[in-house]
């Protein structure tokens, strides 16, 4: 009686909870695709003696020659280094280092003689080096305004907060602002060759080509673009507290003055470690016949402006030639030789272990 009125049609849209009664007749079988069934074709590398041991030997055989090459190259590079901080009583710069402070106006000069026992053939690079100078300190690193250094006029007149406390001096904006610029290295170094017959020949030092191309041409720029009158462009700003000259008097060459002065740019590229060197000058090779710096006596004349004794810093000068891989760097070569030898040695050890007690037996090993 009741059966007659029964029909199984479900009203449309009334199935909200899926249950066995509410199912449709559509097959719910999952698709048979390689992705869904986790059967994607795949490369399954295994660490076997056949792959690992050759890898060790190859690394060894690659690294050792590279290391030797690097080591030899590095050894062929000539480098001379002299510390002129003036810590010792005997040091020529002792006096300068003793009675010097930032606000001293009287320049102090000291002369350091040295002897090169072999001639420097190619271009010679002159570096100054500082030790125990924390250019990588967080507060130091961020204390600059890249907008200002890029030549932005607004930032020139209102330097970023990051520059504090070197943003304003006597209510005038500092250009360039910040602790980095304020502490710019300002010793002057001059080199003289002491001719065997006693005359001091000054060696010409090239002041350009010492900064990154992008720094010089993209990152740094003077306000007002190519306006040759930098004094006007920097009107209304003041020089950093520790500086003796304003930024627009760094160099007579307008292409190397203001923010695009290369000494300034080099300083502004902060070092990663507390002991660092920065490129100061380049001595270009004059002709292929004469060595750039012949063997003999030299004099380094330093106008000692930069105080480092207060924080036990050191200052030095480095003369170096370079190769395709840069300056003298014995560590890289030695490291390569060491790693290569260790790899080779490991390969041999592993080969022996593998032969003596390695697990090379076959399917007998698989058991449940």
């Amino acid at each position: 009686m009741m059966a007659s009125s029964y029909n199984a049609k479900d009203e449309d849209g009334h199935i909200t909870v899926s249950g066995p009664g509410g199912g449709t007749l559509r097959s719910k079988k999952p698709e048979n695709t390689a992705f869904k069934q986790q059967r994607l074709p795949a490369w399954q590398p295994i660490l076997t003696a056949g792959t690992v041991l050759p890898a060790f030997f190859i690394i060894g055989l690659l690294f050792i020659p590279i290391g030797i090459g690097l080591f030899v190259t590095s050894n062929n590079i000539k480098e001379f280094e002299v510390d002129y901080t003036g810590v010792d009583m005997s040091s020529p710069c002792f006096n300068c280092s003793q009675n010097f402070s930032w606000n001293s106006t009287k320049p102090c000069t000291c002369t350091i003689p040295f002897y090169l026992d072999q001639p420097y053939e190619s271009n010679v690079y002159v570096y100054y080096g500082l030790s125990n100078f924390y250019q990588n300190h967080r507060r130091y690193v961020k204390s600059r305004d890249d907008s200002q250094l890029n030549g932005d006029v607004n930032s020139l007149m209102s330097p970023s907060k990051e520059c504090e406390p070197y943003a304003f001096h006597e209510n005038k904006p500092i250009a360039p602002c910040g602790a980095i610029a304020n502490s710019m290295f300002n010793d002057t170094l001059e080199l003289f060759y002491n001719d065997p017959n006693g005359t001091r020949i000054p060696i010409p030092l090239n002041t350009t080509g010492i900064a990154w191309w992008t720094d010089k041409h993209v990152k740094f720029g003077n306000p007002g673009g190519n306006n040759p009158n930098l004094t006007a462009a920097f009107q209304g700003t003041t020089k950093p507290v520790n500086w003796r000259r304003p930024v627009y008097e760094l160099d007579a060459d307008p292409g190397n003055n203001g923010f695009i002065n290369e000494d300034f740019i080099v300083w502004m590229r902060t070092a990663a470690l507390p002991t660092f060197r920065k490129l100061y000058r380049i001595i270009n090779k004059k002709s292929s016949m004469v060595p750039t710096l012949p063997r003999g006596n030299y004099t380094l004349e330093v106008v000692y402006n930069y105080p480092v004794r207060s924080f036990e810093g050191r200052k030095r000068v480095i003369l170096s030639t370079i190769s395709w891989m840069g300056g003298k760097n014995p560590f890289l070569g030695i490291a390569y030789i060491t790693v290569g030898s260790v790899c080779f040695f490991l390969g041999v050890v592993l080969l022996i272990i593998h032969h003596k007690c390695g697990n090379r037996n076959n399917s007998a090993d698989i058991s449940n």
Partner: protein, 1087 residues
């Protein structure tokens, strides 16, 4: 059921003003959590309740303090925003669909009786106290009190699949006084008042009273139509809305289930806490360093670099530096960890859902991962607790044997009986083999006739007759269906029922019995009875039930027959059949009247109604005459013995927990190869008292000891047991099995015996618990969880397994014959027991492997990345200067290194799926927790720290003196940053390449793509174009180009990579070569 008087619900029909006083919830449901306005604040509030998110918010606030900020604010906010927005998008999508379904449900139409006429109203406008009309196949709009129906006696039929998953029809009946109110005009005048219990979530209980015309009528669940049901086989009915919307039982039941966590989750949380501790230690070390430095060096250095204004001494500076370092070093616990873990688990869940080999084509059901957070735990299961019926067996019952009046009818001939000539109403699918039974029916043996009459009357099956003779039975349990079908074939055909009658065709003659009472079945009574009056007017009680309860209630004169029948029952049970005993009792008119009165009393009782009813039933079910017994076969599911064999080879212990009797359970144990004849001994514990159980356990323990090899003796002190250490138990040689009865189990689970029970049971290879109640099932699971630090899995198909499924670490539901309650409570569901081996050995194993590899690598790469800052601290005056560019820090975890490790975490395979089924031992590392534990974690951390040392000191040593080929020194900060970052990205890419064992196209794309992306993004960020737009944001202009053009830089990168990778390679090679794991060997031979 006690109905609290102080909290009750009063509803008066057709009186909206009266009902509005109580401010009952309207019928509008809202499962959605947000709307457009509240979404952002509410969602963010919820997300910041996660500790990790709050931690990153805290970091963000720290970064806004200029003196502390060592990183730009965006390094934290970009990943945080990404994570928050991914979660928010997911929540929003979920909620959108909830809104949609809410809207759709709320806008369904229903017919409401308003001021005497039927009007169409949306569901959401239906109020408590309204009378609504339902038509056939319509969903019930709210919880209704059935008032009247188009069918006789105020009956109506409902399907409750949506509510409890049972697909059979159930009957509901209105109170007799209201069933007369047939048409809307009368109903409009109905002003009865219902007083009932407050809203609750009990689907099968309702307790209330109807007051109408100064009379009281008791209301029960039988009078209720619950929301979510569908009206069937009934033209129309009227109901009074009692509970609406959120108060309905359906909505009250939709609470969230308990959130399960995996052991990896817990380990991960511990490790994250440790890492926080580590972070604080690092911070303290560096802060102390800062104090020393500022005092010794920094104070002298003030002419170049004065302290920031608020800082006036080195201690304050150290304090600030601590926080700065907390910000920098926070990347050891990257925010992306939790998101990545979720993504990987989601991927694994999809693979489970997509697996064709876990799809059952007969029932058109794919496997389903209902919980997406447990996958890797599937690879660590040690104990499986399985239900028997419907899980190991098919739960398709066939009437197999019977014993009638002491004569057993069993399978003797192989020819199937043909019933059609004898009985046109027979079910053609029915199989029976003993023709003597048919003969006995034909000759009219009284006992045989009574036997089948009982089967045709004593049940709760509903019938459906689409056309004459074409009968369909809808039974709540398959056993009942099988019995009624058997009676049908032997000539006692159940045709139809009304609440007061049962109509049958007995030997071709239609008979209508008056149904006087149904004494329901439940798990405690384990029996059901009906009391009927036959056309001749004689009253008879028919009872069927479990032999243990039924044989106790027989008339003493049955002793001899009882003995014979008991023997038969034991025989049947030994064949693994499910048995029931049948009995009847003739009642005199007086007896019936007397009992009927006491029954009515009990029925009306307001309190303890259930208990009083049970007592009344007990009273009449006495002095019965035994008729015989039935045996029903439940066939094993396909592949069960093989699956159990594979799982036990994988060192998984399987416990069967069943409600069946001992013999049946043991027999099934043998047929599914859990128990074998090779076993040294099968212990049986069936004591009824505490002492006897203790004694039996003690003797089991002794015999375990007696054969125990290696001289290690197991302590077996019967009186007061200090628990024997489980590792001693592992030394027992030989295979043992334990069978324990429900009543013994109750004693064994008591506090003083449970340790002894656990250690004994765990020493056995197989454990079968029979005659257990659902609660005991859960107790057993809890016991193992408590005493063994093992992962448990419970698998079952019925409502009685729900508690067990919920209490185990992993619950698996079999979607089968018994509704979907188990499935709804489960974490994983599929339709065949044999899919379990694939779920555990393939998906579980892979998930575990992938998750472990993922975590190892993830911690490694972040330590390698972050610890570089720590070493740099010693060279930069502990000033919290970062080594890398801030953009690199922002993007490292979310762009440069996220995808390759995700691809590994989702797609990696060490051995193909069929291999892990062939070598079940491959499953063991997961159980022993070998792939990711505290030791592995420290190895990863150590490797990460080693890498960070190399990453910092190699470039440091090389670059400090090196110059470009133009003579410009390379030791500037930006070159150093670019070199270190590039080396880091290359080293971790090489490492992921070593870790990945399964290079699909996706892995290749992600690994190479990430490297490519790194260089592309770096060149873009260092480009002149970006610098010209934001000169203050992109300080690194030109660095990438100027650095990466230097051969020295590349030589440095190669050197550092070699130093990082070569030891790992050598170590891994030695491990595979000298101590290969089974997976290594299998993998080698798979090629």
């Amino acid at each position: 059921v006690f109905c609290p008087q102080q909290e009750e619900r009063r509803v008066r029909a057709n009186d909206r003003e009266y009902n509005e006083k109580f401010q009952y919830a309207s019928n509008c449901i809202m499962t959605s959590k947000y709307n457009i306005v509240t979404f952002l604040p509410v969602n963010l509030f919820e997300q910041f309740q996660e500790v990790a998110n709050t931690y990153f918010l805290f970091l963000l606030i720290l970064q806004l303090i200029p003196q502390i900020s060592s990183l730009s604010w965006f390094t934290t906010i970009v990943p945080l925003a990404l994570v928050l927005s991914i979660t928010a998008v997911k929540d929003a999508t979920d909620d959108y669909f909830r809104h949609k379904s809410d809207n759709q449900v709320n806008n369904r139409q229903s017919q409401v009786l308003i001021r005497g006429s039927l009007q169409n109203e949306k569901w959401m406008n239906v109020r408590v106290g309204d009378i609504i009309k339902l038509e056939n196949n319509q969903f019930v709009a709210a919880d209704l009190l059935l008032l009247s129906s188009s069918e006789p006696h105020g009956l109506c039929y409902i399907e409750t699949a949506e509510l409890d998953g049972e697909s059979n029809m159930k009957v509901r009946q209105s109170v007799s006084v209201t069933s007369a109110l047939g048409d809307p005009n009368n109903l409009a005048l109905f002003d009865g008042e219902v007083v009932c219990e407050p809203p609750n979530n009990k689907l099968d209980r309702f307790c209330g009273t109807l007051y109408w015309r100064d009379k009281k009528y008791t209301l029960t669940n039988q009078n209720m139509l619950l929301r979510g049901c569908v009206l069937r086989n009934t033209e129309a009915c009227y109901g009074l809305v009692i509970f609406a919307g959120p108060d309905t039982k359906l909505m009250q039941n939709s609470g969230r289930t308990k959130f399960k966590r995996t052991s990896i989750d817990r380990l991960m949380n511990t490790l994250v806490l440790w890492i926080f501790g580590f972070l604080v230690c690092m911070g303290v070390i560096l802060a102390v360093g800062n104090a020393v430095w500022e005092r010794e060096v920094g104070s002298l250095f003030q002419s170049y670099l004065p302290w920031d204004p608020p800082v006036d001494n080195f201690l304050f500076s150290a304090f600030l530096s601590f926080w700065s370092y907390v910000i920098i070093l926070n990347t050891v616990v990257p925010i992306s960890l939790y998101v990545s873990v979720e993504v990987i688990r989601l991927g694994h869940s999809y693979f489970i859902n997509w697996d064709q080999q876990m799809f059952c084509s007969q029932c058109n059901t794919p496997a389903e991962a209902r919980t997406t957070t447990l996958n890797e735990e599937l690879g660590q299961v040690e104990y499986i607790f399985s239900d028997k019926t419907g899980t190991l067996t098919q739960n398709i019952m066939s009437f197999n044997k019977c014993s009638i009046n002491g004569k057993t009818y069993v399978k003797m001939y192989f020819q199937r009986l043909d019933f059609t000539p004898f009985n046109p109403l027979a079910d053609p699918n029915f199989c029976f083999y003993d023709d003597t039974l048919l003969e006995s029916v034909k000759v009219g043996d009284t006992h045989t006739h009574k036997f089948f009459r009982l089967l045709s009357l004593c049940h709760t099956v509903m019938s459906e007759e689409k056309s004459e003779g074409e009968l369909f039975y809808k039974a709540q349990s398959p056993d009942e269906g099988a019995l009624v079908t058997a009676a049908r074939n032997f000539g006692f055909v159940f045709r139809s029922r009304t609440p007061g009658t049962i109509t049958t065709t007995e030997m071709g003659r239609p008979v209508t019995y008056t149904l006087l009472a149904i004494l329901d079945f439940n798990n405690i009574r384990k029996r059901m009875s009906v009391i009927v009056r036959n056309p001749e007017g004689r009253i008879c009680l028919y009872c069927k039930g479990a032999d243990t309860v039924l044989l106790e209630r027989l008339h003493p004169c049955n002793q001899e027959l009882m003995n014979i029948t008991s023997d038969h029952l034991n025989e049947y049970a030994a064949d693994g059949l499910r048995t029931l005993a049948l009995a009847y009792r003739d009642l005199s008119e007086d007896e019936w009247e007397a009992w009927s009165e006491s029954h009515r009393c009990a029925d009306k009782a307001a309190s303890c109604r259930e208990d009083r009813l049970a007592a009344a039933y007990e009273q009449i079910e006495q002095d019965m005459m035994l008729l015989g017994a039935t045996a029903i076969e439940d066939k094993l599911q396909e592949g069960v013995p093989e699956t159990i064999a594979v799982l036990s080879l994988a060192n998984i212990k399987i416990w069967v927990l069943t409600g069946d009797k001992q013999e049946t359970a043991v027999n099934i144990g043998y047929s599914c190869k859990m128990l074998t004849d090779d076993m040294t001994e099968v212990f049986i514990i069936s004591g009824h008292t505490v002492q006897s159980v203790r004694q039996e356990l003690g003797s089991v323990c002794l015999s375990l000891n007696g054969t125990g090899g290696g001289g290690k003796q197991l302590q077996c002190p019967p009186p007061s047991p200090p628990p024997p250490p489980s590792n001693l138990m592992d030394n027992i040689s030989g295979e043992f099995a334990l069978v324990i009865n429900g009543h013994s189990l109750a004693h064994a689970l008591e506090a003083d015996m449970e340790t002894e029970f656990v250690s004994t049971a765990c020493a056995c290879k197989a454990v079968i618990c029979c005659r257990v109640t659902p609660l005991q099932k859960a107790q057993v699971v809890e016991l193992i969880k408590k005493h063994k630090k093992a992962v448990t899995l419970a698998i079952g198909d019925g409502a009685n397994d729900v508690s067990m499924i919920k209490s185990a670490h992993i619950g698996v539901g079999i979607s089968g014959q018994e509704g979907i309650q188990a499935v709804l409570a489960s974490d994983y569901s599929f339709s065949q027991f044999r899919f379990l081996q694939r779920l555990l050995l393939v998906h579980g194993r892979w998930s575990y492997l992938r998750m472990c590899r993922f975590l190892c690598y993830f911690f490694y790469k972040n330590f390698a990345f972050t610890m570089v800052h720590f070493w740099f601290g010693f060279f930069c005056g502990f000033s919290a200067q970062t080594v890398y560019d801030q953009y690199f820090i922002t993007l490292y975890n979310i762009v440069y290194t996220s995808l390759p490790v995700l691809a590994m975490g989702i797609f990696d395979q060490d051995v193909p799926d069929q291999r892990s089924l062939e070598y079940p031992k491959l499953y063991e590392p997961g159980q022993l927790n070998l792939l990711f534990n505290k030791r592995e974690f420290f190895i990863c951390i150590a490797q990460g720290i080693y890498t960070s040392v190399v990453l910092f000191f190699v470039p440091c040593a090389v670059l400090s003196n090196a110059t470009q080929s133009t003579g410009v020194p390379l030791a500037d900060y930006q070159t150093f940053a670019v070199t270190t970052a590039t080396t880091l990205v290359i080293v971790v890419s090489v490492q992921i390449a070593l870790d990945t064992g399964f290079w699909t196209v996706i892995n290749h794309v992600f690994v190479w793509g990430s490297l490519g992306l790194y260089f592309t993004i770096m060149f873009a960020l260092h480009s002149q174009t970006l610098f010209k737009i934001f000169p203050n944001q992109f300080h690194f202009v030109g660095s990438a180009q100027s650095t990466l053009l230097q051969p020295v830089v590349w030589l440095t990168i190669a050197l550092a990579t070699a130093i990082c990778i070569v030891p790992v390679l050598a170590f891994r090679f030695l491990k595979v070569d000298l101590k290969p794991q089974l997976s290594d060997t299998v993998r080698k031979h798979t090629r």
